[in-house]
Structures are given as structure tokens and as C-alpha cells.
């Protein structure tokens, strides 16, 4: 199927916290470059666990791994706070000082594109 419109939020997880001081490791990559969503959303997208999904917002696009978490209501996706989620967050705070790290209109779709490693992701900002 085509892309699906969703609401994107981010937040902390235990493994993300355990690797705050080791962000260049596989463990951090495996935990943070992923997207949790309801099983029925995965079904609609035609994705299974660890399939690559592309999340696109008005501010950018990022590829992450899909993971099922039925704690998320349908239409709400969660990417742990970190470089992958922030690739699609706006820098404009509209004078409030706080970016919208949660409640971001996004489109999600299945993709064959690869998930970028953290250093590759940072390099995309070096125009």
C-alpha cells in the first residue's frame, strides 16, 4: 500500500538511556533507529518487525526499522529520542523556545532504502 498519515512522537527508553554515553554503538543504533507502532498499522503498511519504513514530514525524511507495540493507539508512531527522530523535527519553535518533538504530522511507508548509521546521518547536515 501507499504511505499512511500518522502522528509522530518521541521519548526515552531504557536501552536508549543505557547507551546515552555510547551512541556510536550497534546497541544504540538498534534501539533508537526504530519506530514503534500498533500491529494493525503494521498490517496496513504491509510491514513486519525489522522491515525498513520511511517516515517523512515537512522537515525531512528518515528510514528506521519497524517494531510492533500495541501500547500505541492506531495512527500514533513512536521513535525513541535521538538522531533518527530529530531528522524529521522542525527547528522552528515559533518563538516558544521548544521544538515540537511530539505531535508531528508525518507520512509512513514501507521502503527498501537503508537505515543510515549515525555518522552518515550527521554527514547529511554538512551541505
Amino acid at each position: 500500500m501507499e504511505g499512511m498519515n500518522v502522528n509522530l512522537i518521541s521519548g526515552r527508553t531504557t536501552v536508549q538511556g543505557q547507551n546515552l554515553d555510547s551512541k556510536l554503538t550497534e546497541k544504540y543504533f538498534g534501539e533508537v533507529a526504530r519506530c514503534d507502532m500498533n500491529g494493525s498499522d503494521m498490517e496496513k503498511l504491509g510491514v513486519a518487525k525489522d522491515d525498513n519504513v520511511k517516515v517523512t514530514t515537512a522537515y525531512g525524511a528518515v528510514v528506521v526499522k519497524a517494531k510492533q507495540d500495541d501500547g500505541n493507539p492506531e495512527g500514533l508512531i513512536f521513535i525513541p529520542m535521538g538522531p533518527w527522530c530529530n531528522a524529521v523535527v522542525s527547528g522552528d519553535t515559533h518563538g516558544a523556545g521548544m521544538p515540537s518533538f511530539k505531535g508531528i504530522d508525518a507520512e509512513i511507508e514501507k521502503t527498501e532504502e537503508e537505515v543510515l548509521q549515525v555518522k552518515e546521518l550527521m554527514r547529511t547536515y554538512m551541505g
Partner: protein
């Protein structure tokens, strides 16, 4: 092997201070008691930056501390509007030198509150905060509400040490005598433990607080059947729990600061607590993330009058979140150099803001390599505060706690690095004046 007791964890705002470690050959070999899995991971250590480095032709090359400090001072001295950002994962003594450096340079100084509880700070400046210490929560609270927060994963000892699970003077039965309410947009690990889980529609916290205020103030008739996705019956149930409790404690997290009405969400959360005062004792507290983010807010406030997003270019402190917050400044391309200390904007800032960080000279002061290192032109490794360096920090309830030095190291502490940069900056100015 030596056993060391009463070690303080320098990771999250819980600042747990009863950890027991085993140390052998100047290495932590075991965390015996007291730390959660996140704290444990920090105490056991991670790969470190081996040496100071300066970027030459695109590559970071090892150099001496002297060279890295000199280069940093040159970058900052040459800059017309440097940004000095981070400060939450170091001690207040280092933060104090940071304010002095900011003043000397006429720089912008911001800390990680601007991407976590900055909106809470604004709300507190607006309406005040009826709060208490975590000790009081432990001894008194019989209704604990976590709103937009997932402490089971982000502050794993919080419930055990201070709130729902802890046993205190008037709460001797622990969780048996308490109720736990979790308000969140998704069923988190914390929500699964709750007596009552209130699932709010994402971004709709503000009207839910308003509805609860109305009910507590005796105006339930104005509340519609559903507010922010929450049925009225559940709101009435929650309001009743508040009325019947002896002491209501609300902790809130980034689920309410990162979205929707931002600081206005927190204003409403505080007013909800005030409304609870019509019936019982109630208190409220932000769940602070970094172990000393509360401390840098304290230091900035006592040194400049303001807690974050401060500029010293006018010769006096100027405060304007939204203009001077680091993400905004970078997004607008409004600084021409950055010193990043004890934080990692490379991982935690919006990509749109990082594009400017990639263009300007960046100094990184940190024990560990991280995404920010990719942008750094000078990298200065430091001792890990709370393991290799001591100093004062402020817990999330603004209680000062002294971090201990457990291991010896050749790495210099943040405070010394900053003092030496400041001395070099002053020397450059003197030289120019000659």
C-alpha cells in the same frame, strides 16, 4: 577489591545516592546495589575519547590539552556571537565558570532545559509552583500521578525511592496504601503498572487539565461527555481520587512540555494542583532529565537572574527563550561559533538546527564521543563527574547533593578546562590591547 558505599549516580534527575560499588585496580567491577540498569551502565563505564583532538583537513588529529585549550580560546575570542550550550551533565562548580566565560565573551549561554523542561520554567515564572521535596513525597503521598512521563524507563528508581513503591513515615505500607494514576497518550511500561490509566489524545492535555479543574471547583456540569479523548466518567473518577487522597503528588514529563500548548500545559497542570488544594494537600514537580539540569538552572539564576537562554552581549544579562534558546539560535543561523559541553545536540536537536552547527567552528567538551563529535573542530575529553571528579549537583527537587570522586584519572575535570580557556581568552584580549 574495595567496596564503596553511598556512591551518587550522575545520570538522571533522581540523583540516587545510596549506591554500592566494587572497585578493583581503579575500575568499577561491580554495581552491587542501589542503581537502576541505566545508572549501572554509566557506572560500569563506556569507551572514552582518548586524547584532545583538533580537526585538520577534515580529520580529527590528536593533540595536547594545552593545544586544544589554546585553539578553543582562539575560536571563542574571534567569534562575534558564540553559543555556549549544554551544562546539565556536569557539576555546578563548572557551570559557574561557564557563566564567567559567557560574561567575558559577551556570549549566549543556554542549557538543556531549553529542550526538556524549559516550558516548565516559563510556567513556574508565570504562576509559581506549589512543590515539595522528594522526601515529602515519600513520606506523605498516597496518590501519585505521572502525567506525560514514563519513569519506569526514564527514571527507573523514581517510583521505588520516592513515590509509588517507596515506604515512608505516613506511607509505611508502600504501594499497598497508595494509588498510581498514569496519564499518557500510549500505554507505556509505567501505564501498565497504574491503578488507573487515563489515555489522552496526543496534544490534548490542556483541555483535560481544564476539565479536572472545573470538576474540582464544583463545575462538573460544564464538562462535556468526552475531553481530549477521555470519557467524563473517568475524569470524575480521577477528581474523586484527588478529593479522597491525603496528599496528591503530580509528576509531569516531556509528554506535556514537548507538544501542544507547551508552557501553557504546565500552567494548567499547576492550576489543577491549586484546584486540588480546595479539597486536600497536593503538590507538583517536573521530572528533570539530566542529573544537574536543575543545578545549571540554579547557577544561571543566582549568577544572572535567569535560568536559561541568556545573552551577555549587552554587558548585562538578557533573557529571551524562543530567541536565545540554542535550537532557535542555530535554526536562524544566529551564532558564529559554538562550545558544547556536557550535552549532545548532535543527537538531541532537530536536524534543521544542526545544519548551522555543521557550518560553524565547534568545540566539544565531553568524556565520550557522540554525534556532536562529528561537527567538532576541537574535542576536549574530560573526567566523568560523579566517578572521576567531585562537585555539587541539584536533584530534580532542587536539593543539592555532592557527587563523589571514586576513581583516579589523568583526564582533567570540566571546571579546570573552562578556567584554562577563560585564562587564555583573557590573555588574547590583553595581547590585542597592547
Amino acid at each position: 577489591m574495595v567496596e564503596i558505599t553511598d556512591v551518587v549516580c550522575s545520570l538522571c534527575g533522581c540523583v540516587c545516592d545510596d549506591i554500592v560499588l566494587e572497585v578493583e585496580n581503579n575500575k568499577v567491577v561491580k554495581v552491587k546495589r542501589g542503581a537502576c540498569s541505566v545508572g549501572k551502565s554509566k557506572l560500569l563505564g563506556h569507551e572514552r575519547i582518548k586524547s584532545p583532538m583538533i580537526r585538520e583537513n577534515g580529520e580529527l588529529k590528536e593533540c595536547s590539552y594545552d593545544e586544544a585549550i589554546k585553539k578553543s580560546a582562539e575560536i571563542l575570542y574571534k567569534s562575534r556571537r558564540p553559543l555556549l550550550y549544554g551544562w546539565s551533565s556536569t557539576v555546578c562548580e563548572a557551570d559557574k565558570v561557564g557563566v564567567e566565560l559567557t560574561e567575558d565573551l559577551g556570549a549566549v549561554m543556554d542549557n538543556t532545559a531549553s529542550v526538556c523542561h524549559g516550558p516548565s520554567v516559563l510556567a513556574i515564572q508565570d504562576v509559581g509552583l506549589p512543590s515539595c521535596t522528594l522526601g515529602e513525597v515519600k513520606n506523605r503521598a498516597d496518590l501519585v500521578i505521572y502525567w506525560g512521563a514514563n519513569p519506569a524507563q526514564a527514571h527507573a528508581n523514581h517510583m521505588k525511592r520516592y513515590s509509588y513503591v517507596s515506604k515512608g513515615y505516613w506511607t509505611a505500607e508502600g504501594k499497598k496504601g497508595k494509588k498510581l494514576v498514569v496519564v499518557d497518550v500510549r500505554k507505556t511500561m509505567t501505564a501498565k503498572m497504574a491503578d488507573v490509566f487515563v489515555q489522552v489524545e496526543q496534544g490534548q492535555d490542556y483541555p483535560v487539565f481544564s476539565a479536572l479543574r472545573a470538576i474540582l471547583q464544583g463545575h462538573e456540569d460544564v464538562v462535556p461527555d468526552k475531553v481530549g479523548g477521555v470519557p467524563k466518567e473517568q475524569l470524575l473518577e480521577l477528581a474523586n481520587m484527588v478529593k479522597e487522597a491525603k496528599f496528591v503528588m503530580t509528576f509531569f514529563g516531556m509528554g506535556v512540555t514537548h507538544t501542544g500548548a507547551r508552557h501553557n500545559n504546565i500552567v494548567n497542570a499547576i492550576q489543577f494542583t491549586r484546584a486540588a488544594h480546595l479539597h486536600t494537600k497536593a503538590s507538583i514537580m517536573p521530572l528533570r532529565g539530566h542529573y544537574n539540569v536543575a543545578g545549571i538552572n540554579q547557577v544561571c539564576t543566582w549568577e544572572t537572574g535567569f535560568p536559561f537562554a541568556i545573552e551577555m552581549a549587552r554587558g548585562y544579562a538578557w533573557y529571551n527563550p524562543g530567541e536565545l534558546s540554542a535550537t532557535d539560535l542555530l535554526y536562524r543561523g544566529d551564532c558564529d561559533a559554538a562550545m558544547i559541553i556536557a550535552s549532545d545536540p548532535g543527537a538531541h536537536f532537530p536536524g534543521e538546527s544542526l545544519k548551522h552547527l555543521a557550518k560553524i567552528p565547534v568545540i566539544q567538551i565531553d568524556p565520550y564521543a557522540n554525534p556532536t563529535t562529528e561537527f567538532a573542530d576541537v574535542v576536549i575529553p574530560v573526567a566523568v563527574s560523579g566517578i572521576e571528579a567531585e562537585g555539587n549537583v541539584y536533584r530534580m527537587d532542587n536539593i543539592p547533593i555532592r557527587l563523589r570522586k571514586i576513581l583516579d584519572t589523568d583526564y582533567l575535570p570540566d571546571e579546570e578546562i573552562l578556567e584554562r580557556i577563560l585564562t587564555e581568552v583573557r590573555a588574547l584580549r590583553e595581547k590585542e590591547g597592547e
